[in-house]
């Protein structure tokens, strides 16, 4: 019907003419009025086929109600009639069908007979065997009866067998010795640890008798974990280092056989009130000079530890150095921007006067050069005290060092930016040279080669060796450390040691390489000073940890044999003040004695 929704007709009659819908001119309002007025409105239905309104009769309404309730339309229909069992197990006198049975139901089937005879024949011939009963229990036999150890697969060579379970110790016993039981705090600590971190996976317990031992609650867990380990845990073959620790210690010659070397502290030179930065021994070995931060220079007699002379200077003394020429009695003292050349007037009077004469015999050159340093002869009170020459530098001087002949004097004025860091003075001609045109970094210390015209300059990381005659760089030593603090040249001139602030001491063999032959890390803290002995195969290093380590450093004449380095003694004596220990070490020129000066204001002699 809905196909005709939009058309005026609702179908066609037999003649093919349209059947028109009845004209309905009821609008919504009429509908509404009808709904209000007509009491039978609720039972009025529109016939869709004809479009006419039909009023349902009472019976029809009733029928609708019944259907809505899911009942049968017919009022009289009884849906619960007693069921009559039509096909029942009871044999009735009247069969349902009266058809007689087939003949084939009385005679044996031929097809079946054929089948059976076939089977029988097959059984007789042994073609069909009865089904074997299933074996439920596994059968065991001698599996390794024909074992051949040579037929082991290659895979077994890669095989890493699982380690066996760890065997239990005393603490796992049900009745362990009392020391294996945990104390209260141990138990608490055990409980707070993560299960993975625990050393023992269980709490040791003690039971009075075997009967009281309960079941272990984690037994299945442990077996399970073992299973997991067996199939999930990655395995790796690890080589266990099995060495005797004693074998690792290198075999060194006994220190006893390497004597002489300083072994005991024998004298303490007290007097300075502040840190003693620098010390130096006279070439005769009789006197010792020390310069300290309390602005004094003190002269000591080595053998008695008596202070012979105290000189006040105008600033904290950074470096002192005794002229190594035994025919001259001169000490160079550096403080602030000044270098003082002192004649201490100790020892042989002849020597002192000769020195004075040597200095006063200077004649002014005819044409004066302008020099970076002002030379002045001290007079008056200064002269009385022993001051002979005063050298004013443009910058603070840190270190002074003499050439072996005693005429030249090098000093360091560390300054990263300028080329005037190192100057060399010639005392006899009162001349000053600036050997370097360019700055190559912050100069830490310098040193002359004892015999050849070489000059060593240590910057923070490198030691440069210059040939002074050819005026060229001959070598650059890589110290492999962060910051060199000090340097010393072997009296033969072929070996150099460098101390650094990162606790290392580097030994260079100049013939061997520009890299250290050996790096020693004996000290716990920064090295402040290193020194070689003039005759004996000894060198010493002083460090902030307050100790002086004396090593035997034998250099052989045979070029093929490497130097032998053996630490022979750790000397302790200085107390650590303000995190500083030993500031300077130096050897006695002839004896196997070592002097050390420390931040505690003392100088100590070890013999």
């Amino acid at each position: 019907m809905e196909w005709y929704k939009d058309y005026p007709h609702i179908g066609y009659d037999l003649d093919g003419k349209k059947i028109f819908k009845p004209i309905r001119n009821k609008d919504e309002l009429d509908e509404f009025l009808d709904k209000m007025d007509n009491p039978d409105y609720w039972r009025t239905v529109q016939d869709k086929m004809t479009g006419a309104d039909i009023r349902l009769s009472d019976e029809q309404v009733d029928l609708v109600h019944r259907l809505q309730e899911g009942k049968f339309g017919d009022v009289n229909f009884n849906e619960y009639e007693p069921a009559v069992d039509f096909f029942s197990n009871e044999v009735m006198i009247h069969p349902v069908t009266n058809r007689p049975q087939d003949k084939r139901s009385f005679i044996p089937s031929l097809i079946e007979k054929e089948k059976v005879s076939k089977l029988v024949h097959a059984i007789k011939m042994g073609w069909i065997k009865p089904r074997r009963p299933k074996e439920t229990t596994p059968q065991y036999y001698d599996l390794w009866a024909k074992e051949d150890p040579n037929s082991i697969l290659g895979r077994h060579k890669m095989h890493v067998p699982a380690p066996k379970m760890k065997l239990p110790g005393h603490e796992e016993s049900y009745n362990p010795p009392p020391e294996y039981l945990m104390s209260e705090e141990e138990r608490l600590a055990w409980e707070q640890q993560d299960p993975e971190d625990r050393k023992l996976s269980f709490l040791p317990q003690k039971f009075a008798c075997l009967r009281a031992v309960p079941a272990y609650s984690r037994f299945i867990h442990e077996r399970f974990e073992r299973c997991l380990d067996l199939y999930l845990c990655p395995r790796q073959r690890k080589m266990r280092v099995n060495v005797n620790p004693e074998d690792l210690i290198p075999k060194l010659p006994k220190p006893k056989d390497l004597q002489p070397f300083p072994t005991t502290q024998s004298l303490v030179y007290r007097g300075h009130t502040s840190l003693v930065r620098s010390i130096s021994v006279s070439p005769s070995g009789q006197w010792l000079v020390s310069g300290s931060d309390d602005c004094t220079v003190r002269f000591w007699e080595v053998s008695t530890a008596r202070c012979l002379k105290t000189l006040e200077v105008g600033g904290a003394v950074k470096g002192v150095s005794w002229n190594p020429n035994p025919a001259v009695c001169l000490v160079a003292v550096s403080y602030d921007d000044t270098i003082l050349l002192l004649n201490p007037g100790l020892g042989d009077r002849l020597l002192c006067t000769a020195t004075d004469q040597l200095i006063s015999s200077y004649e002014e050159p005819e044409e004066a050069k302008d020099q970076p340093v002002q030379w002045a002869v001290s007079e008056g009170e200064g002269h009385e005290q022993g001051h002979r020459l005063v050298l004013k530098h443009p910058k603070a001087v840190r270190q002074v060092t003499w050439h072996g002949k005693g005429d030249y004097l090098a000093c360091v004025m560390p300054d990263n930016s300028s080329n005037l860091q190192v100057v060399i003075h010639q005392v006899s001609k009162r001349r000053t040279q600036n050997p370097f045109r360019k700055s190559k970094g912050l100069v830490q210390c310098v040193s002359f080669h004892p015999v050849r015209p070489y000059f060593f300059v240590a910057t923070q990381r490198y030691v440069r060796v210059y040939n002074l005659i050819k005026q060229e760089l001959t070598k650059k030593l890589m110290a492999n450390c962060k910051w060199i603090s000090s340097m010393s040249v072997h009296p033969a001139g072929d070996n150099v040691i460098c101390g650094s602030y990162d606790c290392r001491l580097a030994w260079f063999d100049l013939d061997l390489s520009t890299k250290p032959y050996k790096v020693l890390r004996h000290h716990k803290k920064a090295l402040r000073s290193v020194a070689y002995h003039n005759h004996y195969p000894l060198f010493a290093s002083g460090s902030d940890d307050g100790s002086v380590i004396v090593c035997h450093g034998m250099v052989y004449n045979d070029l093929l044999q490497n130097p032998l380095i053996v630490p022979v003694k750790v000397l302790k004596g200085h107390t650590i003040t303000h995190d500083l220990g030993v500031l300077d070490v130096t050897f006695h020129p002839t004896q196997p004695w070592v002097f050390s000066s420390g931040a505690d204001g003392t100088v100590r002699l070890f013999t």
Partner: protein
Amino acid sequence: MGGLQKKKYESGSATNYITRNKARKKLSLSLADFRRLCILKGIYPHEPKHKKKVNKGSTAPRTFYLLKDIRFLLHEPIVGKFREYKIFVRKLRKAYGKAEWGGVERLKENKPVYKLDHIIKERYPTFIDALRDVDDSLSMCFLFSTFARTGKCHVQTIQLCRRLSVEWMNYIISSRSLRKVFLSIKGIYYQAEVLGQTITWIIPYQFAHDHPTDVDYRVMATFTEFYTTLLGFVNFRLYQTLNLVYPPKLDGQGEISLKSEFEEDYALESESYTEKLSALSASLARMVPSAEEEETELDHFPTEGEDLEKMEVREKMEQEQIKQKKFFEGLKFFLNREVPRESLAFVIRCFGGEVSWDKSLCIGSTYDATDETITHHIVDRPSIDKQYINRYYIQPQWVYDSVNAKILLPVEEYFLGVTLPPHLSPFVEETEGDYVPPEKLKLMALQRGEKPQTEEDEEEEEEEEEEEEEDDDDEEDDQSEEEDEANLAEMEDKRSRGKSLSVKVTPGKAKAENRKRAAEEEKAEEKRLAIMMMKKREKYLYDKIMFGKKRNVREANKLAAKRKAHDDASKEDKKKKKKKC
């Protein structure tokens, strides 16, 4: 130079390893099947030396298998069986869904089964290999044999495990190869020496298990499947080596003696035989009925010098071992009902003792508690009503301690109601520097044949010594204190008189030089200096070794200190008690 550019990770170690997921895909197995295969075939992940290289530059945590292992798995016939089984399960589910019960029956009948024999042969090409690996399988079988027959695994598995473990125990008894036993809080550890291999296994105490929920029983079951097969073959071979009948049979004598009237009360006809076997109280039947005392004697080879000495030592050892093997011989034990019967029966029978228990406790008891010839009655209760005069009533720990000590220990410390001495682990072998508990020292002295001091004597002596020591100390202290005080007084006097001490030269005393000490110090210094000259790598190693040593020493010291504190405390308690008395 021409040639192709080499690409990273296309050769070398990166190609030797394969990750688990890739391996699984290569085998086209599900994760569960892969797991099972790995367990059965004994394939385990390897830790590569350079993990990053193998992981192609990534540092993600992955497990790696050897590619060769996985290739090797490709040819495994069991993989086919796994697939068949998967299909079987699918078919079965379908049949159930369609309610085709006949089909279900038929399918079940044709359930695919696999055998692990070839895998065992492949994993353990020689018998010794298998024996070496039998530890875990024993522990697992013993655990599974104690499971209740509900839920967690198949009843057949439990029964099989029980059967195999009983077979194993019977073998150990007849070969007399048990060496050590240890009662721990986890269970009882046994160690046996079978054909030169030490085998350790653990048996839990006989309680019902509280099955944990976070344990994957499928994994355990797969392991057990493998282990039972292995153990079965091992048992067969072991029984063969002893000429025993496999499956085990009780010998005629034993069978008769075990016949009792109450058999039916205890077990069904079908089960009684296995139960008798597991009672461990009778010896097994042999293939060749031979004289019991047939011990292999070492043949004498004509040898010279050192070899001869070695031979002698070996012979001696051998004889000692034979002696130890039967040091319970001639003793008759009776187990009270509260002691762990199986464990004790096993241990006692292993060392040649005779053992029995109450008839109502278990099948297989051979004599009664009233038997007059019983020498040891093992009881684990504070007191017992009726005591026979001609036997020792001892606690079970005596048996275990004696076995570990390999001698019959004095029974006094193990009587009823006596506080037991600590039970020590026989597996700990103290090296030098380790802590040795005093009980162990005492035991070692006993083994050497020294007579132990009675405790009271010791205590008295100790007390006396202590008193003396205290006196000495007091005197010394007094003297030294007096001296010090005098010196101090002098100094103070001087100070009060004049502010500065007067410089005074006194004749110096020659210091008595302790030469030995000086030499020692020198040596120590030498060593210190030599250590300074060590190379960095060696120094590191040296420091590590020394650290480990120091830790051991520290631990030993801690234990010793604890022991001392404990002893002191207990002594004081005793003293107090004495005083009260």
